[in-house]
């Protein structure tokens, strides 16, 4: 793999990480109010999948969507402005954290109603297939979402019509306060694709290169007209279900054992990739430091842009309900 490609993966992951982390303080201070389901810890998943997609391919996302948006190429300034609910945001401050959209790069939207957008991705793939445009769709959803019937209905239809869609299930072991073992029988999640004859793989979701390889296979499969593909990405969120950390905030009781959190912290996907880049001498320390500074600066500027932007004006309240 070329250095520039690897650098790009690293830049994307770091941008997501720093963009998420810049929100912690403002959330605690109440400056950011829209509920933020932070993506910290899961960066490799979004970046790995999106790196295997073309710009014309469509991506759909869920409540934990900041990383998906940025990985697909959504504008950082406009994302932070949306989270600060400003008129300059990607959804003009109407949607907030859970409704990011970037049609310019075919990030088709995120929505918090669990599994809603999965069927929409199948619909986008249906359009791709009817238009024969060679494009494919991908949809991100969590392990908890696999509780909804819509997932199985979507898998069935996608398989039936041989649609070019990648189902990306980000299994972070929790659905709000419930461990996955309290939500499903102990069968690996990717196996839900099996009865529909859908090709499926489970991948270590904190290893960017592994995710990328899996997604490349999936995209090739879809583009070759072989039908849908299912990826289960094993990962972990390093922040609370919503907001910085259920434990630290003291309002919520996070049920995740500290030992488990620590175990996953050691598998931090950004640090892991940094280590890889250094050990394989793709980057030296100084080069990495330069990239870090650059991205830190970029996120800082974007946050300033968001803070300085105006909020929507009340006279525009009912604008955008219809054309």
């Amino acid at each position: 793999m070329e250095k520039s490609f690897l650098e790009n993966l690293y830049r994307k992951m770091l941008t997501i990480r720093l963009a998420e982390e810049c929100l912690i303080d403002p959330i605690l201070k109440g400056e950011v109010k829209t509920p933020c389901h932070l993506y910290t810890g899961q960066e490799a998943s979004a970046v790995g999948v999106c790196a295997a997609l073309e710009s014309g391919d469509q991506v759909f996302s869920n409540h934990r969507g900041h990383g998906h948006y940025l990985a697909k190429g959504g504008d950082l300034n406009r994302m932070l402005a949306e989270i600060y609910t400003k008129e300059t945001g990607c959804s003009r401050g109407r949607g907030g954290s859970m409704h990011l959209m970037a049609r310019d790069c075919n990030f088709m939207g995120s929505a918090p109603i669990i599994s809603q957008t999965v069927a929409m991705a199948v619909g986008a793939a249906l359009a791709d297939s009817i238009k024969k445009n060679g494009q494919i769709a991908a949809t991100f959803f969590g392990d908890g979402a696999a509780g909804e019937g819509i997932i199985y209905e979507s898998l069935n239809f996608a398989a039936l019509k041989c649609l070019p869609v990648i189902f990306v299930c980000e299994n972070n072991l929790y659905s709000t306060h419930l461990h996955i073992r309290e939500c499903r029988p102990g069968i690996p999640l990717y196996k839900i694709a099996e009865p529909f004859g859908i090709a499926a793989a489970q991948v270590g979701g904190n290893d960017i290169l592994k995710v990328y390889e899996a997604a490349k296979i999936a995209a090739k499969h879809c583009r070759a007209g072989l039908g849908p593909y299912f990826i289960e990405s094993l990962t972990y969120r390093m922040r609370g279900h919503v907001g910085p950390d259920d434990n630290i905030q003291g309002q919520h009781t996070d049920i995740r054992p500290q030992a488990e959190v620590d175990e996953w912290r050691a598998k931090d996907p950004v640090m892991r990739f940094e280590k890889y880049l250094l050990e394989n001498k793709i980057f030296d320390k100084d080069e990495l430091e330069t990239v870090k500074q650059e991205i830190t600066e970029k996120v800082k500027k974007a946050q300033e842009y968001a803070i300085d932007s105006p909020r929507p004006v009340v006279s525009d309240l009912q604008k955008h309900v219809f054309e």
Binding site: K33, T34, T85, G93, R94, M98, A111, G144, G149, T176
Partner: protein, 331 residues
């Protein structure tokens, strides 16, 4: 028993659930977050410790099937209280609730029934935007086989939940997180607030305000503001959306000749429209007159916005009720 013990809204529900489960082994709680210490406020505190996982069931994210599960258990002798932490999640449940539970008795020619409670919590504000804000009582009230209750305070919350659980038919119980901070006297024993009975909260002669759910405390605030200006309003809380306590509302409107309806839901095709329609029909047939057109204080026909600047204009408060009352008085 002490009669002046106070409870907050969420704990009044908690007490109702605990006492209902203690007194009737058929009652159980099922829903998302019922074992969580935060997901559904403090409404389910301690229940799992007391009654075990068999009677306090925290479910996977499966609203459609779980609502059917609740309905089926009710057909087979249990009394489920099915919780939804937000009404927005109930769209997935509409098939089981409306196609299924609501129609069941009639489809069976009266030979079967579904004594289930579907309890949804309105949860909005805080820049949560369109899919985490909706109040869809009108959709439930539209279905013939459903009763719909919307308590505005702890006393009614406990009493209506008891009545809902004891009802032989499906009841949709809708409360609002904005009310969870309210505290008032709540009897320690089990008691019922009858379904279909509204409450006169304040006597007045100049105008009637019928307020629902979170707008009830706002209407009482509006009454105080208006009183300072010499305007005397009557405040009615229907408590039950369906069946509506029309005698209470009509009696008041007959007295005051002016009506403002305050409901925190979209203004078109809502409960407020239904109340207005019934009042107009009644006024026509009983040949007494309204002194002014009916005013509605509702949400605009617009999805909930995220930005706090828009939210502030989106959700009506006492101020809008005051303005509406004045409008009926041409002030």
């Amino acid at each position: 028993m002490s009669s002046n013990r106070k409870l907050k809204f969420g704990l009044a529900i908690n007490e109702a659930l605990r006492q209902l489960m203690e007194s009737d082994p058929a009652v159980f709680v099922i829903g998302q977050g019922v074992k969580s210490p935060w997901y559904v406020g403090n409404t389910c505190n301690g229940l799992i410790q007391e009654f075990g996982e068999e009677r306090v069931i925290d479910t996977p994210i499966s609203e459609n099937a779980m609502s059917g599960v609740a309905a089926g258990s009710a057909m087979n002798g249990l009394k489920p209280v099915m919780n939804y932490p937000r009404l927005d999640f109930m769209f997935y449940a509409l098939d089981a609730i409306i196609n299924g539970a609501a129609n069941w008795r009639y489809m069976a020619g009266g030979n079967s029934n579904v004594p289930a409670v579907f309890w949804g919590i309105i949860n909005r504000g805080g820049e949560q935007a369109a899919q985490h804000s909706q109040a869809i009582q009108a959709i439930f009230a539209h279905a013939p086989g459903l009763k719909v209750v919307m308590p505005s305070g702890p006393y009614d919350a406990k009493g209506l939940l008891v009545s809902a659980v004891r009802d032989a038919d499906p009841v949709v119980f809708l409360d609002d997180r904005w009310l969870y901070g309210l505290e008032e006297e709540v009897p320690e024993e089990l008691y019922e607030v009858p379904i279909g009975k509204g409450k006169l909260l304040r006597n007045g002669s100049d105008a009637t305000v019928v307020a629902i759910s979170y707008l009830v405390p706002e209407a009482l605030k509006a009454a105080e503001i208006l009183a300072k200006e010499g305007i005397d309003i009557e405040v009615i809380d229907p408590r039950t959306i369906k069946p509506l306590d029309m005698p209470l509302i009509l009696g008041s409107v007959k007295k005051t000749g002016r009506l403002v309806i305050a409901e925190g839901a979209w203004q078109s095709f809502g409960v407020s429209s239904e109340i207005a329609c019934r009042v107009y029909t009644h006024v026509y047939t009983k040949v007494y007159t309204l002194k002014a057109p009916i005013e509605k204080v509702c949400l605009p026909d617009c999805p909930a916005p995220a930005s706090r600047s828009l939210e502030a204009a989106y959700y009506p408060k006492a101020e809008q009720i005051v303005a509406a009352v004045k409008k009926t008085m041409s002030l």
